[in-house]
């Protein structure tokens, strides 16, 4: 009994920004039992991938959904490879042809040949480079702005490693007639004549150039290893080793499948062309047959149908194929070099306190007798403890006041934030491509501290600290988004990661040096983290003039133009009465308003001009904390206030006892 053959449903992946795509995997999973995660993987990104295989009835039901979503797809009955391409040993160059010499046959390419060329890299360097590029792009630009290597980059990378060039000559029906395989450096280039080169890559480039010059139609594929197709997975060849059958079989399958796809594409183009010619209203017909998406997809795919572009343009507004929003497509700019931020006041306060205490203690042992005597005297009569008690009370009241300030401030919605001191909750969004140096996470703020082990008391001393500087970022809630300028803010990140020198990744931490003398601590506010911001909202004056200013300018212009004024002289008495001036004024106002609205529509929605920054008054707080709960923050300040109070009370009692004794 012959084995039942299944067709493959292959799709051209689309950008994640396409509207309505999010629900498609779930829809396909529910209706056809497909794995939603696998479907999503097959649909998103770039290049081609197998969506599913199965009985014809099921695939025929899936394809309309893909068409409606504007996803280019092919239903392919794959041709089983009948032969593997023969290895080329040499060439013979004719006036209009190029002949490939294999051991037992000659394959000639001429002006009527249709050639499918597959340039593959068997070392896996192309795949590695592409993956590395995606990871870096994901970190710096976000998932929506990913782009694979283009053909030029793929060719360049492949030629630098272990390239193999497969050439399939197709017949008039675009079916594989014969094929040859060229291994870099394993052929005699003498036959290339003046085109030969002394470099392996140079010879392959020359062959590709000659093929393009001499063949009627050439299709070059460089995505072997990148396309997710069945039986076409790359099996890497270690450097220096010749590829065996195991590595070459997937490449052969890939070549035959690409020939099938090309045939389907040509057939689809011809069918559309014929339909268009028959109907004389080609675009409308294409739209009716394939829906608006067909027109859009065909145009997007470079299929030139008469009138197709017009339909795509006309229907584009209502088509499900919509480009990703500009914000998603535009990569984030790099941040400017900015000076590091000041450490926040809590640490500053503690530091001042500890430094004062340390200096006091140092004075006892190090500095001369006079100073030591003074300090001893200060301790004996209670003045020094009183001084420290005063500092502790000040700290206690500072944190108590701060706690109450935060508790007393209601949370505003970003859409309606009023100018002045405000409190907003939302998620952090980057405005610049800030990436944490250690964990390579996209973030809005990072701080990196270097610590060195103090072998005397086994503690860690901070050696240096660096941060990303005051890079503006955005905060977003359900109602809108606005900019935060973190200059002068108390920044409180919660994500903390320790690392040791020489670590490749934080995941390897456990397997690292047993007793290191140095370590790094990275604190970040990652993109998308819930943040709480208390600061001063202000709206820098926009550069463009206001509506009123523009109206006044237009009226002034009207007054100065005698010819224009004459148009409003309804009774023709040579001067403008108050009623006539009123008419003129209303017209000008309306015209300016319309211009203004039209301009704002062309510009698109303007982002909020409100910026949250440091208050001009020093006693007002400016805090950016990575927390979803205000209570979490205020509780911390309450505890600090209590600690300072207890400490201050103890010192005050000590000071009193000494004072009274004295």
């Amino acid at each position: 009994m012959p084995k039942e053959r299944k067709r493959l449903l292959i799709v051209n992946k689309v950008s994640p920004g396409v509207e309505g795509l999010e629900s498609l995997p779930a829809k396909l999973a529910k209706r056809f039992g497909l794995d939603a995660f696998a479907v999503r993987q097959s649909l998103l990104g770039q290049g081609i991938a197998l969506l599913t295989t199965g009985p014809d009835e099921q695939l025929d039901k899936i394809t309309p959904l893909l068409t409606a979503q504007g996803i280019e797809h092919w239903l392919v009955d794959p041709t089983p490879p009948r032969f593997a391409p023969a290895r080329v040993q040499g060439f013979r160059l004719g006036g209009e042809s190029l002949t490939f010499l294999t051991g037992d046959q000659e394959v000639t390419l001429d002006g009527e040949s249709r050639v499918l060329a597959v340039l593959a890299d068997l070392s896996g360097a192309v795949v590695d480079r592409d993956l590395k590029r995606l990871l870096v792009q994901n970190a710096y630009r976000g998932a929506a702005a990913l782009s694979h290597l283009d053909d030029d980059e793929l060719i360049k990378t492949a030629l630098q490693h272990q390239p193999v060039l497969d050439l399939y000559l197709l017949d008039a029906d675009y079916r594989v007639r014969t094929g040859v395989r060229i291994f870099a450096g394993r052929f005699d280039p003498q036959g290339l004549g003046e085109h030969k080169s002394y470099s392996v890559a140079g010879n392959l480039k020359a062959i590709l150039r000659l093929i393009r010059e001499r063949a009627a139609d050439v299709e070059l594929r460089c995505d072997f290893g990148l396309a997710a197709l069945p039986g076409c997975a790359l099996k890497r060849v270690p450097p220096g080793e010749a590829p065996g059958r195991e590595q070459l079989a997937p490449l052969t399958r890939f070549g035959w499948l690409m020939a099938d796809l090309w045939r389907h594409q040509i057939a689809a183009e011809e069918a559309s062309r014929a339909a268009a010619a028959a109907a004389e209203v080609p675009a409308a017909l294409a739209a009716v047959m394939g829906g608006p998406a067909a027109a859009v997809v065909a145009t997007a795919a470079g299929v030139k149908l008469p009138g197709m572009e017009e339909v795509a343009a006309a229907l584009g507004e209502d088509s499900p194929v919509k480009p990703a929003p500009a914000s998603q497509r535009t990569p984030l700019p790099l941040p400017e070099e900015l000076p590091p931020l000041r450490r926040h006041s809590r640490h500053l306060l503690l530091r001042v306190f500890l430094v004062a205490a340390g200096v006091g203690m140092a004075l006892f042992g190090v500095i001369g007798e006079t100073v030591t005597q003074m300090v001893r005297q200060g301790m004996r009569n209670g003045l020094l403890p009183a001084l420290f008690a005063g500092g502790a009370f000040w700290g206690s009241f500072y944190y108590l006041r701060l706690k109450r300030q935060l508790e007393n401030l209601p949370t505003s919605k970003i859409r309606s934030v009023a100018l002045g001191l405000v409190e907003v909750h939302g998620r952090a969004r980057r405005k610049y491509a800030v990436v944490s140096p250690m964990t390579q996470q996209p973030c809005v703020f990072y701080r990196l501290r270097k610590l060195r082990r103090n072998h005397e008391n086994q503690s860690w001393d901070e050696v240096s600290t660096s941060d990303c500087g005051p890079v503006p970022f955005a905060i977003e809630d359900d109602t809108g988004r606005l900019t935060v300028d973190p200059r002068g803010a108390v920044l409180k990140p919660r994500h903390r990661q320790e690392g040791l020198p020489g670590q490749m990744s934080m995941l390897l931490m456990a397997a690292s040096v047993a007793d290191p003398t140095e370590k790094w601590i990275e604190e970040i506010i990652p993109e998308g983290a819930p943040i709480y911001v208390v600061g001063y909202a202000s709206a820098p004056r926009p550069a463009s003039s206001s509506l009123r200013e523009r109206t006044v300018a237009a009226l002034r212009e009207l007054k100065q133009n005698r010819h224009l004024m004459h148009q409003y002289d309804a009774d023709g008495d040579g001067h403008i009465s108050s009623d006539e001036w009123q008419v003129a004024r209303e017209e000008i106002e309306e015209r300016v308003l319309r211009h203004s609205l039209a301009a704002s529509e062309e510009d698109g929605p303007r982002p909020s001009s409100v910026v949250i920054g440091r208050p001009a008054r020093r006693d007002l707080p400016f805090i950016i904390a990575e927390t979803a709960s205000e209570a979490h923050l205020t509780r911390g300040y309450g505890v600090l206030s209590a600690i300072f109070l207890v400490f201050g009370l103890g010192l005050a009692v000590l000071a009193l006892t000494r004072l009274v004794d004295f």
């Binding site: 009241f397 109450r404 209601p410 309606s416 009193l656």
Partner: protein
């Protein structure tokens, strides 16, 4: 000696208490002013809505020749705000204006040409945006009042509040008519 120490401790506790009272008092004053500011911030938006209305009416007039009554109601409600005396009267006038605007937008459904007018779309979107912002700021006002009212009733702030006569503040309340259930009647042919 013990007496001096006791006196010193009492003095210290007194100073700390006074400082605490100052912190609480200042906090309550800030809260009270926050409420006034939140109320004024609503007025800022109401003024913006007030200024946008003549433009909207002007655009509607061109299309809605048969809806003079609705347009006049909006214009009248707008002028009521200018003439209103006191907060309660102003609040009532603002509510009336919101109602008439709602009626206007309902009537607009009968005029597809007006709905398609670019200027009308922009203006109605702007007014809707302002209405949403007004709603947000009313919530913020209520939040400010709520924080203040809780503070002045909680211990130990209640002592300072009573000492300095900090009184409860009113939350913003909607027109009682808007609390009534909405009756939807489907007409059968």
């Amino acid at each position: 000696m013990t007496l001096w120490i006791t006196l010193g401790v009492i003095l210290l506790v007194l100073v700390l208490l006074i400082l605490y009272v100052i912190v609480v008092y200042n906090g309550l004053v800030t809260l009270r002013n926050n409420i006034d500011k939140a109320w004024s911030n609503i007025d800022v938006l109401l003024k913006q809505r007030f200024d946008e209305l003549p433009k909207l009416i002007k655009v509607c007039e061109g299309y809605m020749q048969h809806e003079r009554q609705t347009l006049e109601a909006v214009a009248k409600a707008r002028s009521m705000i200018s003439n209103a005396q006191g907060n309660q009267e102003k609040l009532a006038a603002q509510n009336t204006l919101s109602d008439t605007l709602r009626s206007l937008f309902m009537v607009v459904e009968r005029y597809p040409e007006l709905k398609a007018d670019k200027v009308f779309k922009q203006l109605s979107a702007r007014i809707t945006e302002i209405e949403e912002m007004i709603a947000d700021r009313r919530e913020l006002y209520n939040e400010s009042v709520n924080i203040y009212n809780i503070r002045i009733e909680q211990f130990p702030d209640v002592i300072v509040a009573r000492l300095f006569n900090f009184a409860n503040r009113e939350l913003w309340r909607i027109d009682p008519a808007h609390r009534a259930d909405v009756t939807v009647a489907f007409q059968s042919n």
